[in-house]
């Protein structure tokens, strides 16, 4: 399996989820070539024509001093250019798939009392840590992202900011030196300006003077940034405008941190020591109690099969409706589970059925508590340790196959398989039409789930609930639309959403996020699990598509955690298991909105690629709201439709174009 990327180099982590090879774009190299040419060329001319006279006339210290400064400039330039800025390895797709459908777009953490949002990066498949940003030019998430500098053709991030800063300082000094000494030379040769020496010196002075203004300006800008403890990205996007910067430790400490801290390690291309640990073998896991399972999902972002179960069951039907063109990359079970013949057969069969759904994968951010599964590297790691990812997956596959397991890569479910029994149970629950019929231990559950999925005929095409994540909003919206007629379907989605919410709830409450506290409580989850399975037929009026829930969650985050009763209730209703439907409000209505918005969004070109070459000093913005905004948009639509939630109708706002304010303060126009 492609997970092994031991030799990863900067800019590209190999592995399963790596992006397709980027085309060679020579235009990217123009600024850096020009910068190098000017720097080296002008300085060489200076040394050849001006310095000999200066060393004779004044002292030989001058050329030496200039040489030292020039070498220092060059060294910093090379380090800034070639050093890995702190690229995060891409998280493995398979691992996150199950979460992709459920996770909200944002996750909030509290840093020194200030709420900071971590956004889901759909390309790299993890929640970007604070100060991390995705560079569209390099197509990588970079830690402590400052900007993408075209003059060095590299991102400036945590690891190489110091070199970039020193490069600017030394370049400014060097330019001043060259200009100053050139001026001295010219002033002494005023009568011989036609000599080559003087002419060249004047030329060099012109170049130096020309570059001095922008370079000095940029240097001054960065001095201010360093003193304030901000990155260019933060300054330009106005993140802390009028607010407090949680990342600053005081002027002096900021400066020492930039200049004197130890070189940060690289995350990609590391040698992974093979860990051969003797783990006691049959750490057979007893079937987890409901509470434990619940905790797994909620607490600490534990990845486990519950997640998959929930997401599967709830989003299963949603997925089938996905109209997104992109298909999630199919799992490659053969490669992943070489030692598990059972899994192989299952997986291959699964693959053959694989349906499209896919876009969901791509767009729906997963609430992956481990947040950053940065990992192409984790895969090999897992392999080495025979990690659970591989082993659980087959089991999950088995169970899940029974109902119609289609395109859902087993790996999605995989990582968190908790136990054989649980896995089976989960599998049964999930999928929509079950081709093979539920088989496993939790026969009843499976049966129930199958029946459940069957009711949502429109959705059954979509295989596993796990897969829900794709195209988050987009597909879910489509599904939602369908589900409007099918409360059961919504139930599924609800479940998924619940899961995500729960996870989110777990995450955020710890940080004091109020909004999620009112959300699902751990105790509800088990109920959810069991009840859902048991009584699939109960129409759930308090329907909230998982996607919607996620949107709501996002919405909430955007609103800074306003506890929302409306939000909670659908969840609770859902949790109670399908029995007492809750204020249906959310469900169908949201679905419609969701659908509308999604469709609208899907047609919109993704926004952004913000940062392309920006001149240093200008700004580099990380795509503020990158693709996943589907979810975002939905959230917005939800917020706008929130007051309407009470209606248990699927009516939508009047036609036309609606302007919705998104979570991030962006506005979307949604054709209603």
């Amino acid at each position: 399996m492609p997970g092994f990327s031991s030799g990863g180099v900067g800019g590209g982590v190999g592995g399963v989820a790596s992006a397709p090879p980027r085309p060679f774009r020579p235009s990217r190299y123009v600024p850096v070539s020009a910068a190098t040419t000017f720097l080296v060329g002008a300085t060489t001319l200076f040394f050849c024509f001006t310095c000999p006279w200066l060393s004779e006339h004044f002292s030989s210290v001058i050329p030496i001093y200039n040489a030292v400064i020039f070498l220092f400039t060059l060294a910093n330039f090379c380090m800034a250019t070639f050093m890995d800025p702190g690229i995060f390895p891409r998280a493995e797709e398979d691992e996150d798939k199950e979460d992709d459908f459920r996770a909200p777009l944002y996750k909030t953490v509290e840093i020194k009392g200030i709420q900071v949002r971590m956004k889901w990066c759909s390309t790299c498949r993890f929640y970007r840590p604070p100060r991390c940003s995705h560079c569209s030019v390099c197509d990588n998430c970079v830690e402590d992202f400052d900007h993408h500098c075209p003059w060095v053709n590299n991102c400036i991030g945590r690891r190489n900011y110091r070199y970039f800063f020193l490069f600017l300082l030394s370049l400014t000094t060097h330019i001043m030196n060259v200009f100053g000494f050139g001026l001295v030379y010219v002033l002494h040769h005023q009568q011989e300006l036609d000599t080559p020496g003087a002419a060249v010196t004047m030329g060099v002075m012109c170049v130096a003077g020309l570059f001095f203004v922008p370079v000095a300006g940029l240097t001054g800008f960065h001095i201010v940034l360093v003193a304030r403890g901000r990155t260019t990205n933060e300054q330009v996007t106005g993140k802390f405008r009028g607010g407090v910067n949680p990342f600053t430790n005081g002027c002096l400490r900021n400066i020492t941190h930039v200049l004197c801290s130890s070189q940060a390690p690289r995350y990609i291309g590391r040698w992974r020591g093979r860990q051969m640990v003797e783990v006691q073998p049959p750490f057979l896991r007893p079937a987890l109690t409901e509470a434990q399972l619940e905790a797994k999902v909620l607490d600490n972002g534990i990845q486990n099969d519950r997640h998959s179960t929930r997401s599967k069951s709830s989003l299963d039907q949603m997925e089938s409706q996905s109209a997104d063109a992109e298909a999630p990359p199919p799992p490659k079970p053969e490669l992943r589970y070489p030692g598990l013949p059972r899994a192989d057969t299952e997986e291959s069969s699964l693959l053959t059925e694989a349906p499209p759904t896919p876009s969901m994968y791509k767009y729906r951010p997963t609430f992956n508590s481990p947040g950053r599964n940065h990992t192409a590297l984790t895969h090999p790691n897992k392999m080495i340790r025979g990690e659970s990812l591989d082993s659980p997956s087959p089991s999950i596959l088995q169970s899940s196959r029974q109902p119609s397991y289609r395109s859902e890569p087993s790996s999605l479910d995989g990582t968190t398989v908790v136990g054989g029994g649980v896995g089976v149970r989960r599998g049964g629950g999930e999928r929509g039409e079950g081709p093979g019929g539920p088989g496993g231990t939790a026969g009843g559950v499976l049966g129930g789930m199958s029946g459940y999925s069957l009711t949502g005929r429109s959705y059954t095409s979509y295989p596993s609930s796990l897969v829900l994540s794709t195209g988050g909003s987009h597909s879910s919206s489509l599904r939602s639309a369908h589900t409007a007629h099918n409360p059961l379907a919504t139930l599924h989605s609800e479940g998924t959403t619940d899961t995500s919410y729960k996870s989110l709830a777990n995450q955020t409450p710890r940080n004091g996020s109020l909004s999620y506290d009112s959300l699902l409580t751990p105790s509800e989850s088990p109920e959810f699990e069991s009840t859902e399975v048991v009584s699939p037929s109960t129409p759930l009026q308090g329907y909230t598509s998982p996607f919607l829930s996620a949107q709501i969650a996002q919405q909430r985050e955007g609103q800074l955690l306003q506890g929302s009763a409306t939000f909670s209730s659908p969840h609770k209703a859902y949790l109670r298991a399908v029995s007492p439907p809750l204020p249906s409000s959310a469900g169908p209505l949201e679905t419609h909105h969701l659908l509308q918005h999604n469709q609208d969004f899907s047609s919109r070109p993704p926004r952004n690629p913000s940062s392309s070459s920006s001149s240093p000093g200008a700004r580099l913005l990380e795509p503020p709201v990158s693709p996943p905004p589907r979810g975002l948009s939905l959230g917005k639509s939800l917020s706008t439709s929130r007051p309407v939630l009470a209606n248990h109708t699927t009516s939508k706002p009047g036609g036309g174009v609606k302007k919705v304010t998104g979570v991030g303060g962006t506005t979307y126009e949604i054709s209603v």
Partner: protein
């Protein structure tokens, strides 16, 4: 791959495992710290004190790695003076501490976690994103 095979076989026979993720604690900024909150999933697998102690020790080590102390300062000066060629021969302070951390994790695994059927992974392999324990 052969190793993988055997481990997988072992796993296959054993049981399905799960992952328990211990998230980063960002409350004090972007410093690398992990949450010491005891995941309930590990409740009956390991002693809470033990776990917290492990995470605290890791946090201390990461803090030491990122410390702005004399060693990092000297290293920086030396690097500047040698036009960063010193990085070719010498290991940075952070890397040294990372090695220490890897050793510590290995040792914890051998002594405490493996006997209980758990396995801690080194967070650096995941970009210092999460610390996770395979159950």
């Amino acid at each position: 791959m052969a190793e993988t095979h055997s481990l997988q076989d072992m796993r296959q026979q054993a049981a399905i495992t799960a992952k328990v993720f211990i998230q980063r604690d960002y409350s004090s900024g972007t410093m690398c710290q992990f949450q010491t909150k005891f995941p309930s999933e590990l409740e009956n697998r390991i002693d809470k004190q033990q776990f917290e102690e492990t995470v605290r020790a890791l946090n201390n080590m990461y803090a030491e790695a990122e410390k702005l102390g004399s060693q990092s300062y000297i290293e920086g000066c030396l690097a500047c003076l040698t036009a960063y060629t010193v990085f070719l021969c010498m290991e940075t302070h952070y890397e040294k501490v990372l090695k220490k951390i890897a050793k510590y994790i290995q040792e914890q695994n051998d002594k405490i976690y493996a006997p209980r059927g758990l396995l801690l992974t080194d967070p650096i392999e995941r970009g210092l994103g999460t610390l996770y324990s395979d159950c």
